[in-house]
């Protein structure tokens, strides 16, 4: 008989170290995990394995990046192992290939990625087959959902399968969850960063002091939620600028994409003559098509701010303040899954997590506009780009 009680095995020791490391890495809003590290580790007595499914609005770098980081986070918490060789490269938008790899491997007894549990293109495809599968309650225990549209389609009460929604602009405004702090529903949870767009607009306004801010979006509940129009309007009241809006219908299918680009070019061209700054909200364009679209603002000396982040600054927007990488949100998401698996209710879990912001400037765009950013602004910048983007 040992008086020391049960000794931790090697795996637990490694898991403990991983948790400690993760706690040390977890910043800001994820600090909740630090105080209850044990709540994140798998229980030795619990033999249940979780079958996970996935759905996304469309192929998008943020979605694949977030998924990969969640998997890494689960690995760090010992819920699975062997994720280090995952086929993911930064900027990759193909989550299906990643899913295939994950579902084809034995990553341990606790988590299994269901081979036919991946669903894409929900921006245009119907969610009915997924909902029916979830309603039957047969082979999926947890859904990871990426994007506002996919979230709106799947975070319904028709089923009871726990559904975690990531990468939405404003999950509350989109109606996915009831409130910022907690979802209010037992089977739905969504990541929320309520201040993200307030911050962006405030910084953009402090830098350029604009009076008329241009914005283009689809005038539908989903379109307004994706662009986080409520936040932008609220800031207009606070900062005292006038919002000049143009509405562009999102593409209804691949065949409608060119119409979308044409409408967008017309709207932006129109705005470039009427505003003194342009806030480029999330859109349905590809990054390759972005440089020619945004050029009109460069030529007219209108500063542009990308809601998306450095990717669009690299392609010709003047500046952005957005998240640095997916590590933080991945760890936060993994901690939510871990708590869920350990018996906590989704309705009680904190949804707010502040992404570490990074600052990006495009000096080539600034030069073309005849604008010279302050030395201090460049010193604070994390990314500086010096080309106008790759033209198709």
């Amino acid at each position: 008989m040992s008086r020391c009680g049960r000794m931790p095995n090697r795996r637990q020791a490694i898991a403990g170290a991983g948790t400690a490391l993760m706690s040390a890495l977890l910043p800001g809003g994820a600090h909740a995990g630090r105080a209850t590290d044990n709540a994140l580790l798998p229980k030795l007595t619990d033999g249940r394995h979780w079958r996970i499914g996935y759905a996304e609005t469309m192929p998008y770098g943020n979605y694949a990046g977030t998924l990969a980081s969640i998997v890494k986070g689960l690995d760090a918490l010992s819920w699975l192992n062997g994720a280090a060789r995952m086929p993911y490269d930064a900027g990759q938008s193909d989550s299906e290939a990643l899913w295939r790899w994950l579902s084809a491997r034995d990553l341990g007894p606790r988590i299994r990625f269901v081979a036919d549990g991946w669903y894409g293109g929900l921006d245009q495809a119907s969610a009915e087959p997924i909902l029916q599968r979830l309603e039957s309650g047969g082979d999926i225990d947890l859904m990871i959902v990426m994007g506002t549209i996919a979230g709106r389609k799947l975070a319904l009460d028709r089923h009871a399968v726990p559904t975690l929604v990531f990468s939405t602009t404003n999950a509350v405004a989109a109606g996915i969850v009831a409130a910022v702090e907690h979802s209010g529903r037992n089977h739905v949870w969504a990541h929320v960063d309520p201040e993200r767009y307030h911050r962006q607009i405030r910084i953009f306004h402090e830098t350029f002091g604009f009076r008329r801010l241009g914005i283009a979006y689809e005038n539908s509940p989903a379109g307004r939620a994706i662009a986080s129009i409520a936040d932008i309007e609220a800031m207009a009241g606070q900062l005292g600028y006038e919002l000049v809006a143009r509405h562009v219908q999102a593409p209804v299918g691949p065949d409608d994409q060119e119409r979308y680009y044409a409408d967008l070019a017309a709207a932006w061209g129109d705005l470039s003559r009427q505003v003194d700054a342009m806030y480029i909200t999330f859109g349905r364009w590809s990054l390759e098509r972005f440089p020619p679209l945004v050029r009109i603002f460069q030529e007219r000396g209108i500063p542009t701010f990308s809601q998306l982040g450095p990717e669009e600054v690299a392609q010709g927007a003047l500046m952005s303040v957005a998240r640095s990488d997916f590590d933080g949100i991945g760890q936060f998401g993994a901690s939510v899954i871990a708590r869920l698996a350990n018996g906590e209710r989704l309705a009680d879990m904190r949804q707010i997590y502040f992404d570490t912001p990074t600052i990006a400037w495009n000096l080539a765009v600034a030069n073309r506009m005849g604008y010279r950013p302050a030395m201090s602004a460049l010193l604070a910048a994390d990314n500086i780009y010096t080309s106008l983007g790759t033209m198709p």
Binding site: P27, G28, G29, H31, R199, Q200, R202, I203, E206, V321, S324, G328, F354, D355, T356, P357, T358, I359, L363, A366, N367, R372, P373, A374, M375, S376, A377, L378, L379, A380, D382, I384, Y385, T386
Partner: protein, 812 residues
């Protein structure tokens, strides 16, 4: 032969002891000050680099980054460490004390842990309400630590703390060479001085008008003073070198920071054409580094850079301009960074170094003079019985005994105040070190409690001692007071409980004031034998030397070994005081002499002879003296203690200026006091006149300050205040002795009221000067006029009383 050897040893050994003590004290104080200056220099360098990083962090916060979730913080902190290779580590803590980022050695990370200590949290919370930074030497961890506030640029809210730490070994490195040099110098000078004194001791006694051995005590004092001056002069060289090295280091670090900053922007593809705001960037740096007068980019001919490329002032004659090539951009432009070093600023600071060195030297000389005064007065030879009559011999013996008594009194007062003031600089700070709070009080309130309790217990002890002095011999009272103070000092150093600490400070206050009252009783006895004695001025001299030396040595020791150990050293000093009291402070003269001299002091009724019919404060002349002399003069003296530090700080003067003002005042008390008091006694003036004169000089000092409103005017006022108190304090005591109340109640009780009235004046003084500060320059004039009016009113009342009671003639 044996007699000659005995005389040689009797002359030589005290001189050697004096020299050794002088050298140990001056070497210790020089090394301590140099170490502290090196620490300050290190903090100054850290502060410049740290502030630059804080500015960058704050700028990023403006761009939406949050301190607890700051992408790129590790990069910024790593960069800071490369600027400051002496630093063990750097960390950023949140206002709640949680350390969010830490970069450095394993030792640093282990020490820092994941939270700031309770003391550090309380200190940052309090300091950052008023200041942008603070530093301290953590003697427990042997680490120098600088804390800088990080604020939200939008609302100035404190959002984090940048901490930079370096271990003691960094300072040890700096100090080692100076230490070696000083010890060699001190050893050589000491050996030479001892040889010289040995030679002097071997010379035959000086005959009338002939050559020969000078008075050995004075020779030893002169030699000791010369040695101290030599140590001080060489110390100045090292101190000024250290200052210039700091300037050089800081400039080099800033050059590195600017080169790195610009390199980081240029290295990411920007050119000098593509960004603006370099002038703002330079302006921020000039605001951080006080010796920078201007900064600019010098661009090669042909490079067409638009906008302002510099900030600050151009170089004037005598200014130093540094140059450093910066990164080359994609357009092949390589500008040079030019920094203009303000030679006036450097000169001003060098003058300050001189002033600080002179201060140290004077304090060392004061210390050695006290030792000399004690030793030489104790060694004063008695009259040879072979050549003198018995009566002369008896009188001379009594005078020698009284002289030894006076020497003991002065040195004991010095020891008492030295021990008491060792901890004066940090008692309020100690309260912040206790993790357990005190009844939920805010730190500034809690910090004031031990000082207040010490004063309150002191005041109560004075009253009690006045009451019981008739039943308690002076020596017992002094010894008991010192013993209580020792107990208080020991408990202060050992306790970890704030309440017990406060009790301990109360014991120190009560003990020291009881001991002081015992010393006043000794003066009574001396004055019964020799009414013309300068005992009061000896007491005040010992007091002010003790205050100055104690405060300086205490703060240096606290820096080096920590405040708790200093309390224990204070306990040892006070214990030595008990030893001196019991072994080296004889009664003023034999019992016969006391009996013969008993009626000498103003026909004084022996203390507590019979129960007084009326209460002491119901005596009109005594009450008038307290209200119109004791309280107002004491309140006006608070100009130095309360008002001047605020005034000097408002002018941007360093803390050392305040120290110099205290020293100037102390010098007046210590050296002018005995001289003027002697003059006062020999002139047979009525004590009322010196009281009036000293008060009017004080009023003139305040008016001078009010009329000039300058630092020079303030120093002049302090000189006049010192001059006034140098004989005024003694004159007040002598005046008190002549009041009718002493005849009815004895001296002890009225004296205790007088001392407490002065304490009340010390409480009223700050209030008066606060009100005066609101009224501007006219305020101090009003206080001065008020004092003059009070004194004249007192004079008028005294004259009136004189007419009614002619027996008071001697008093007025």
């Amino acid at each position: 032969m044996q007699r000659k050897t005995g005389r040689f040893l009797a002359t030589f050994l005290p001189s050697v002891l004096l020299i050794v003590a002088a050298l140990v004290f001056s070497a210790g104080i020089n090394l301590g000050t140099f170490r502290r200056d090196c620490g300050d220099a290190l903090f100054s360098t850290f502060s410049v680099a740290g502030r630059k990083v804080v500015t960058s962090i704050e700028y990023a916060v403006k761009y939406g980054k949050t301190i607890d979730n700051f992408f790129g913080m590790e990069r910024a902190l790593n960069q800071l460490r490369t600027y400051l290779p002496q630093a063990d580590g750097v960390a950023v803590a949140l206002p709640n004390g949680q350390i969010a980022y830490a970069i450095g050695t394993y030792g640093f990370k282990d020490r820092a842990g994941d939270r700031l200590s309770g003391y550090e949290q309380r200190r940052t919370t309090e300091e950052f309400k008023r200041n942008a930074s603070f530093n301290y030497h953590d003697t427990d961890n042997r680490s120098y630590e600088l804390y800088l506030a990080i604020r939200d640029p939008s609302d100035g809210r404190w959002i984090g703390t940048l901490m930079i730490a370096a271990s003691d070994s960094v300072i040890d490195e700096y100090v080692r060479a100076f230490e070696r040099h000083t010890l060699i110098l001190v050893g050589t000078l000491g050996a030479a001085a001892i040889l010289l004194l040995g030679g002097l001791a071997l010379l035959p006694e000086r005959g009338r008008g002939g050559l020969g051995r000078p008075r050995s005590g004075r020779a030893a004092l002169a030699v000791a003073a010369l040695v101290q001056i030599a140590v001080g002069v060489t110390g100045y060289g090292a101190f000024s070198d250290a200052y210039l090295r700091t300037v050089e280091n800081t400039t080099g670090i800033v050059e590195n920071i600017v080169a790195t900053d610009i390199g980081s922007v240029i290295g990411r593809g920007a050119t000098y054409h593509t960004f603006s705001g370099i002038d703002d960037y330079f302006r921020e740096i000039i605001g951080i580094v006080p010796h920078f007068k201007g900064m600019s980019l010098a661009v090669p001919e042909g490079a067409d850079l638009s906008g302002s490329l510099g900030s600050g002032q151009p170089a004037a004659k005598g200014d130093l301009v540094t140059g450093r090539a910066l990164a080359t951009d994609a357009d092949f432009v390589t500008p040079t960074l030019r920094i203009v070093i303000d030679s006036d600023f450097i000169q001003r600071n060098m003058l300050e170094v001189v002033a600080n060195n002179v201060t140290i030297l004077i304090i060392s000389l004061m210390f050695i003079y006290e030792l000399h005064a004690f030793v030489s007065r104790r060694m004063r030879p008695t009259v040879e019985t072979v050549t003198e009559t018995e009566a002369v011999v008896a009188g001379a013996d009594a005078a020698a005994a009284t002289g030894r008594s006076l020497a003991g009194l002065r040195f004991l007062t010095f020891v008492l105040y030295f021990g008491m003031f060792l901890s004066a600089s940090f008692v309020p700070v100690i309260m912040q070190t206790f993790d357990s709070g005190l009844f939920g009080l805010a730190p500034p309130q809690a910090a004031a409690i031990p000082v207040s309790v010490e004063m309150l217990c002191g005041a109560l002890a004075i009253l009690l001692a006045g009451r019981i002095s008739a039943r308690l011999p002076w020596r017992t009272m002094t010894a008991a007071g010192l013993a209580v103070a020792v107990l208080g000092a020991v408990v202060s150093g050992m306790t970890g409980d704030p309440l017990l600490f406060i009790v301990a400070r109360g014991l120190v206050g009560a003990g020291t004031m009881t001991a002081l009252m015992g010393l006043y009783r000794l003066i009574d006895r001396i004055r019964r034998i020799d009414p013309a004695t300068g005992a009061y001025s000896d007491l005040f001299s010992g007091m002010y030397v003790g205050v100055n030396c104690g405060a300086v040595v205490g703060s240096l020791l606290a820096d080096a070994i920590g405040p708790h150990a200093v309390f224990l050293i204070a306990a040892v000093v006070l214990t030595l005081g008990i030893g001196q009291l019991l072994l080296l402070t004889p009664e003023p003269a034999g019992a016969a002499a006391i009996a013969a001299a008993a009626p000498a002091v103003a026909d004084a009724k022996p203390d507590g002879d019979t129960a007084p019919a009326r209460r002491v404060w119901s005596d009109g002349s005594f009450l008038a003296f307290l209200l119109l002399v004791s309280v107002p003069t004491s309140a006006c003296s608070m100009f130095l203690i309360y008002y001047f530090p605020l005034f000097a700080s408002g002018l941007g003067q360093p803390a050392s200026t305040v120290g110099q003002a205290f020293l100037l005042y102390g010098l007046c008390i210590v050296y002018l006091g005995p001289l003027l008091s002697r003059l006062m006694r020999s002139s047979n003036l009525s004590p009322g006149l010196p009281v009036l004169a000293s008060g009017l000089i004080m009023a003139a000092g305040l008016t001078t300050f009010a009329l000039t409103g300058s630092l020079v005017g303030a120093f002049l006022a302090i000189l006049l205040l010192g001059l006034s108190d140098s004989f005024g304090l003694t004159a007040q005591q002598r005046y008190l002795e002549r009041l009718p109340v002493v005849g009815t109640h004895g001296l002890a009780v009225p004296q205790s009221y007088h001392l407490n009235a002065r304490k009340i004046g010390q409480v009223i003084g700050p209030m008066l000067f606060s009100a005066a500060a609101v009224a501007g320059g006219a305020g101090a004039t009003l206080i001065g006029l008020g004092l003059a009016a009070a004194l004249l009113l007192h004079l008028g009342l005294s004259v009136l009383a004189l007419r009614r009671r002619p027996f008071m003639a001697k008093t007025a």
